[in-house]
């Protein structure tokens, strides 16, 4: 199975490490012999049609900060993704919720040249879900994106595979760990700016935290879930969105008096598609603290079911990419992928 890795940040590097440490297991349990033929970062590309030495790619990336130093001869071609032969493209570049680039072009290039695509980048799906799914179906390849929601926690898989014969009628979730951490700290007595500063120091919030605190990240995940699980056709613009920047201490104290916690809640049902701060009963299973994510699915017969886990993390998200890879392999056993 030949793989192109686009994006060599924390997830990309964690994924290579996972492949290295699990290679014999992957072959034994799933018949997968992965061969990473290309790795790209923002500065260039490392390429070998017979398969890159993954340990060396990691060492080069660590030493020089760019993978193109992998070999002396510079690999030159336009449209890398289209022109390199591979069965699977991994799109692991950073999320951009305005243009979705460069991820969107990568995903389209991959699908158009009949590569199965795994993305953990929320941008392309939050802005163009339906057309990308259509493109993958037209080209008879798979588009998988388990890591876009919940990091390593299999929220999408759970909804899609564990409730067969039932019908999910709505879901409610805490989909962003950074804001949940900030709100947890505010419930402990910190002011918003103190809690934000704390989150930055712990590495939970970016230098520019607006994607998180304005609710965009949660809204993007909500859009992906609404499309994939509920069969809606919505984009980011359809979400009624309020972030957490204007919350004051009074609201949090008032919630606490009623045995509640203020949480940034994403909700999807027949009437609603929103992200906003809402007081949640402390007895509700989704009322989790710290950086945890939680989603409650309401289904027709089997009732309410909640899944809780870390919503981010390099190794966790890389494990979701590995899950998608296994699923692609299992669905294409009639092809010769090895």
């Amino acid at each position: 199975m030949r793989i192109i890795v686009c994006g060599m940040g924390v997830v990309g590097q964690s994924f290579l490490r996972l492949l290295i440490s699990n290679s014999s297991l992957l072959y034994k349990n799933y018949g997968i012999k992965p061969r990473v033929v290309a790795c790209m970062d923002s500065k260039g590309i490392a390429y070998s049609q017979t398969g890159l030495d993954m340990e060396r790619v990691l060492r080069v990336k660590e030493k020089y900060g760019e993978v193109s130093k992998y070999s002396e001869s510079i690999f030159k071609t336009d449209n890398y993704i289209e022109n390199i032969d591979a069965e699977v493209l991994l799109e692991l570049t950073p999320t951009n919720l305005t243009t979705a680039e460069p991820g969107l072009s990568h995903v389209i290039s991959g699908l158009r040249t009949k590569k199965n695509v795994i993305t953990v980048n929320k941008g392309p799906l939050a802005l163009s879900f339906s057309s990308l799914v259509e493109l993958s179906e037209y080209n008879n390849v798979m588009l998988r994106f388990s890591g876009t929601v919940g990091g390593g926690t299999p929220v999408l898989d759970f909804a899609k595979h564990c409730l067969k014969g039932d019908r999910i009628t709505s879901f409610t979730g805490i989909l962003n760990g950074t804001t949940n951490y900030i709100l947890t700290k505010m419930a402990d007595g910190l002011l918003f700016r103190e809690a934000l500063q704390d989150a930055k120091e712990k590495g939970y919030a970016e230098a520019n935290p607006s994607l998180d605190i304005d609710g965009d990240d949660a809204a993007a995940k909500l859009v992906i879930m609404a499309n994939w699980i509920m069969g809606y056709k919505v984009t980011l613009n359809d979400v009624d969105k309020t972030g957490i920047t204007n919350i004051d201490q009074e609201e949090i104290i008032k919630a606490a008096k009623e045995r509640k916690s203020l949480k940034l809640i994403a909700k999807c049902d027949k009437e609603n598609l929103f992200v906003r701060p809402i007081p949640i009963s402390k007895d509700d299973p989704i009322c989790v603290n710290g950086t945890l994510n939680a989603v409650t699915f309401q289904s027709e017969h089997s009732g309410a079911q909640t899944i809780i886990g870390k919503g981010a993390g390099g190794i966790e998200t890389a494990s979701s990419v590995l899950r998608d890879l296994i699923e692609i392999k299992e669905n294409f056993t009639n092809y010769q992928l090895n």
Copy 2:
């Protein structure tokens, strides 16, 4: 797909209702045309090789309390299960954790005559897990038991299907709703006998509640999970088990002072296989209240993940039987099951 239903209590009746209300959906989405050829309760059997009128079976059961009044001619044969042609046997009789009967004989009869078996009865699996799995493999049929753990909450499916490529290293859970309800009420200030009485009045506890309060029900579920998820070969006797009958109010008050709640915890890891009351931090996602069940799986790469839901209920458990039925159908599409 011809089905024999053994046991016509709450789950059996709920299952028939689910089949009736979902018949067109089942055919459209999964190609399943269920035909219930026999229903058995403790007093007799209703039988029709061309398929029973399920609405009438339900009316007869409600009116007479026994399904054998379905037709005037009494169906007579020994070894019903072996002698009736069917692709699937549902074992829905009450759990017996001493002899596992009559469920164990039913399951064995079904597997031996090459019927796929779905059981929600914990007894046979808690006492003979390995040999039943072996028997099903020998006869090349499926043995499914989603409803034995978590009721409608897909705890087993989650562990088996949603964490591919990863490895579960341990799990910790609240597996019995009755005891969790009693402990929740005790944390509110009731004495054990008052809380038990309350649970009985609400229908959460049986007249003879020993299976629940002595920890046997949780231990049986622990055994099923340890075998199925972790690949252990254990039975009920291997569980180190303590129930909740000897808890006194002091322990509960002490736990509360440390922001903890006393919970009946089932745990499985390399060293441990136990059921016992343990104080759990209120910040821990598995610290759920009321009749809820919760399980946290610790896995190698994707971290800790918790799944929470109602652990019982007729319609919920029936929905898990339906899930198993769909999985059997999907795994046997090369056979002619309709």
